[in-house]
């Protein structure tokens, strides 16, 4: 099936008169890369809040985060296809660069 998102939960809520949509899912990378995830004991999540998707990964071993980002960027066409129908405009993630946490995003 390749890279795809398995949605775990959806929450719609209203604050005042603002209606919001929240959705959280797990990124599945296909058989080969799932082995990589197991090796790093990693979990990759995507959270969609209204028009923004935010990616996060829990990676226990050093060196895994760079691999994850390369895979994520390489898969952005597949991810974009799944996020566009949800009305997502931006995908964000964080990376550590020279000791600083930096936010990056690409337009979906």
């Amino acid at each position: 099936m390749g890279i795809h998102i398995e949605w775990d939960a959806t929450i719609d809520f209203t604050v005042g008169e603002e209606r919001h949509h929240f959705k959280i899912g797990t990124i599945r990378f296909g058989p080969e890369l799932e082995k990589w995830l197991d090796r790093y004991n990693a979990v990759c999540k995507v959270k969609v809040f209204d028009g923004t998707a935010h990616f996060s990964a829990a990676i226990r071993e050093e060196g895994g985060a760079g691999d994850f980002l390369r895979i994520l960027l390489g898969a952005r066409h597949q991810i974009r296809r799944q996020l566009q129908p949800l009305g997502v405009e931006w995908a964000l993630w964080e990376r550590v660069h020279k000791g600083n946490l930096m936010s990056r995003r690409f337009r979906v």
Binding site: H20, I24, K47, F49, D50, H54, S56, H77, S103, R105
Partner: protein
């Protein structure tokens, strides 16, 4: 058409750390850390990830200096519901995730809310009133300090 990633708006993130009381945990007092990253330009919605860490006798997920460590990680969203005066914010929170004790992974969810008071120089105080649902539901209040970065 593919677009290359670009820098995102530099909104204020914060890290937090402290201690929590876990009614159904062993031990009941555990260390706790969290990371909040704004995902909307108005800073109302945060990507929120929390880690609960505790020492165990054996079979921990990893060890530090010979001490076995168990952890639980959850990630979700926090949404600012109200602002009280200067720098005091009330957030609602929902964060599904998992806990790991070295033997198996279990799904769990943390939900509730927290108060966050910013102080000087980017430091702050955070009090969370949350519950955790793994097998049962346990009240799990936390208190800690925060730092913007």
């Amino acid at each position: 058409m593919a677009q290359d990633p670009v820098p995102a708006p530099d909104n204020a993130r914060f890290g937090a750390g402290g201690i929590g009381y876990f009614a159904g945990g062993k031990p009941t007092l555990q260390g706790w850390a969290a990371l909040g990253i704004p995902i909307t330009d108005d800073n109302k919605a945060l990507s929120y990830t929390s880690f609960d860490v505790s020492p165990v006798h054996d079979n921990g997920q990893f060890s530090v200096g010979g001490i076995h460590i168990r952890y639980a990680m959850r990630t979700g969203i926090a949404y600012r519901l109200m602002q009280f005066g200067k720098g005091l914010d009330l957030y609602g929170l929902a964060a599904p995730g998992f806990s790991a004790d070295g033997a198996d992974f279990r799904s769990s969810i943390e939900y509730g809310g927290f108060l966050h008071q910013y102080l000087k120089s980017g430091w702050g105080v955070m009090v969370a009133f949350t519950a955790e649902k793994t097998e049962g539901t346990d009240f799990a209040p936390r208190i800690g300090i925060t730092k913007k970065f």
